[in-house]
């Protein structure tokens, strides 16, 4: 078969953008793990390595004005939505130039200008907030949609239920994207719920539930695009379950003893970046060398972000007392 760039159904520029974003996430996370392990970053760190296709596939379906809410494991979602690596990295360092002037850290990254309504340290908390944003779009008469990322574990929180029910009752433009990586911290999904697919929960609200291969960025993009379109057309919310995996521990430092190593290895065989690169190569959109070039460029960007962060001042202790009230 002759390579056909059109075979992937998207303009090459879009495909390349997605590819670059996936690498940006990978490179950012790898570097962050390194830095954290070396003791340079305070706090906790949860890496999204392995889940890049869910982040990028989803955000590729969004407009800049659209919103996301994210999770404790949110770097990838935020990078995919346009988050700046330098300000993110500076925030991970707790510096004055970080997104949150050092007040938020990894679990509390925000960029309201980019529609990033926040990572969140509370499992499940992003869902109702996304519903509110969608309500706001409705009332203000804009075409915005909101996406709420959350994990398989979060699907057992009351907030999940209330948010899906409210969004469906009001037929709001929300796409609930479950990044199902089969574990919540150490606990496998079967110890947390007795269902095969989280997507089946959609029916409890009259909401379509769609399962998608979370390692396939194009599939994710397609499913989310359809959901976004439905939402914008007044068709209400959708529940998307992206089956994925985190390649590392729950947090950096977690040895992950609760996961069989064969399972981890099997998933790693389906590395979403490699899978996408194979598709891109097949379609003649991007060759190995060009891909390596992207990786190198992105790693440089991350290096620059680290330099930026390191060179940034610590916040003034007095600023700890600012921003409590507007």
């Amino acid at each position: 078969m002759r390579p056909d760039p059109a075979s992937l159904g998207l303009p090459p520029a879009d495909l390349l953008h997605m590819h670059r974003k996936m690498w940006a996430i990978r490179a950012f996370e790898e570097r962050a793990i390194e830095l954290f392990t070396a003791g340079e970053l305070p706090g906790f760190l949860h890496s999204q390595i392995g889940q890049e296709a869910t982040c990028v596939g989803t955000c590729a379906a969004l407009d800049p004005e659209d919103w996301i809410t994210s999770t404790h494991r949110g770097h990838g979602d935020i990078i995919a939505k346009g988050g700046r690596l330098d300000r993110m990295m500076a925030e991970l360092y707790g510096r004055e130039t970080g997104y949150c002037r050092g007040k938020g850290g990894s679990m509390h990254l925000f960029d309201f200008g980019l529609g990033i309504l926040g990572a969140n340290g509370i499992v499940g908390a992003g869902l109702p907030i996304a519903v509110g944003a969608a309500l706001s779009a409705r009332l203000r008469g804009t075409a915005q949609v909101s996406v709420s990322f959350f994990g398989d574990g979060a699907s057992n929180e009351g907030a999940f239920h209330e948010a899906l029910n409210l969004a469906s009752t009001w037929q709001l433009p929300v796409v609930f994207v479950c990044q199902n990586n089969e574990y919540a911290e150490s606990t496998p999904r079967r110890v947390q719920q007795a269902i095969a697919d989280i997507a089946t929960r959609g029916a409890a609200y009259g909401v379509p539930g769609v399962v998608v291969d979370g390692m396939d960025v194009l599939a994710v993009r397609e499913v989310v695009s359809a959901a976004v379109e439905r939402g914008r057309d007044g068709g209400g919310p959708t529940l998307v379950e992206a089956k994925t995996y985190r390649f590392y521990g729950h947090y950096v430092g977690d040895p992950g003893v609760y996961r069989p190593s064969e399972e981890v290895e099997a998933w790693k065989q389906r590395d979403p970046i490699r899978l996408f690169e194979a598709r891109l190569a097949e379609a003649g959109v991007l060759g190995r060398e060009e891909a390596d070039q992207v990786e190198a460029e992105v790693r440089q960007e991350v290096d620059d972000a680290v330099e930026f962060a390191r060179a940034s001042p610590e916040p003034d202790p007095a600023s700890a007392f600012e921003d409590v009230y507007a």
Partner: protein, 333 residues
């Protein structure tokens, strides 16, 4: 907006505040359980508002307190000024994450990127045999949480003016009404036009020289009645109503105590770690040399609210207990 002098009850004051703000500012919306017409809210506070402003802006919700407040927050972060109603303050236990971890902290956590203009209206208080899950007064919890403002009106005028100010405020405001005041037919004239009472300013509801009573919400009414009574025996009681518990008008309280040298704090919430503890600690610290007697607290007992009127009356402050508190700081009359 009417320029006629209006006489309003507490409930009408709240209703007018919401109507006026809905009219004035199209970004204002209300959401909550059973707030829409014809029901108009379980205490009828929102009556007529969905009829006037439509079901899009005055929205009935499912029974989902966490999603109600979460949705309000999502609105507040994206350009609207939501006013959420949580039917009873006891049900705030179901949305504390959204209030405390989210709404109160997002501005701070984001390094000041965003304003969070939202109000959570709820009502508390005992006196109707509503029992332990429908009669608490949990203001102390909210006062403890940085990032929240906490408002407790005691009169129709304040209800109107403080709610308007709360809706215009750019921070999450917990607005605590009292169920007996909502049912109270007492009406008073409110100023013409746009009556806004700024947050953070106490009101001396009665001037006096012998003792300061700091009272909140319905307890202001009781304190005033006791002050009237004591005036007959020649005791001059000053009644200070903080109106907003956060930000607290500390100077107004301290100024009064420095004048009277004696203080009683009266509130309906549980005494232990209640609002009165904070006020007593404040006075004890900042007016140490001015105090002629220990600060007394007259507050809800450290017991759940019982159902029977006889028992309920035993656990919430009443005029007799307030009077006894005052007499105690005066050294026994």
């Amino acid at each position: 907006m009417s320029a006629e002098p209006r006489s309003l009850t507490y409930r009408e004051g709240l209703n007018a505040a919401m109507a006026e703000e809905l009219r004035r500012d199209e970004t204002v919306l209300l959401l909550g359980e059973d707030i829409a017409d014809p029901f108009g809210g379980s205490y009828k506070t929102t009556r007529g508002l969905s009829d006037e402003f439509g079901a899009e802006r005055v929205r009935n919700t499912p029974i989902s307190e966490e999603a109600i407040v979460g949705a309000a927050l999502g609105c507040a972060l994206t350009g609207l000024r939501p006013v959420a109603e949580v039917m009873y303050v006891d049900f705030m236990t179901l949305c504390m994450d959204m209030v405390v971890n989210q709404a109160a902290q997002i501005r701070y956590m984001s390094g000041g990127q965003v304003r969070v203009p939202m109000v959570v209206r709820t009502q508390g208080g005992a006196g109707r045999s509503s029992a332990a899950q429908h009669a608490k007064s949990l203001e102390a919890w909210f006062c403890h949480v940085p990032g929240l403002k906490v408002v407790m009106p005691s009169t129709p005028r304040d209800a109107l003016g403080l709610l308007k100010a709360s809706i215009r405020d750019d921070n999450p405001v917990i607005f605590l009404e009292h169920k007996l005041l909502l049912l109270d037919p007492y009406a008073e004239t409110v100023p013409d036009g746009d009556h806004v009472v700024p947050l953070g300013v106490a009101d001396v509801k009665r001037m006096g020289t012998d003792v300061t009573v700091i009272a909140t919400s319905r307890m202001v009414r009781l304190a005033l009645a006791v002050a009237d009574e004591l005036a007959e025996s020649g005791v001059s009681v000053e009644v200070v109503d903080p109106r907003t518990l956060v930000p607290l008008d500390e100077e107004a309280i301290l100024a009064s105590v420095r004048k009277t040298n004696r203080a009683v704090v009266v509130h309906e919430g549980f005494e232990r770690n209640g609002f009165g503890a904070e006020v007593a600690a404040l006075i004890g610290n900042r007016a140490f040399d001015d105090l002629d007697a220990p600060v007394e607290r007259v507050a809800g007992a450290n017991a759940p609210i019982p159902f029977s009127p006889v028992l309920e009356n035993a656990v919430i402050p009443n005029e007799a207990r307030i009077r006894a508190g005052i007499e105690k700081v005066l050294g026994g009359l």
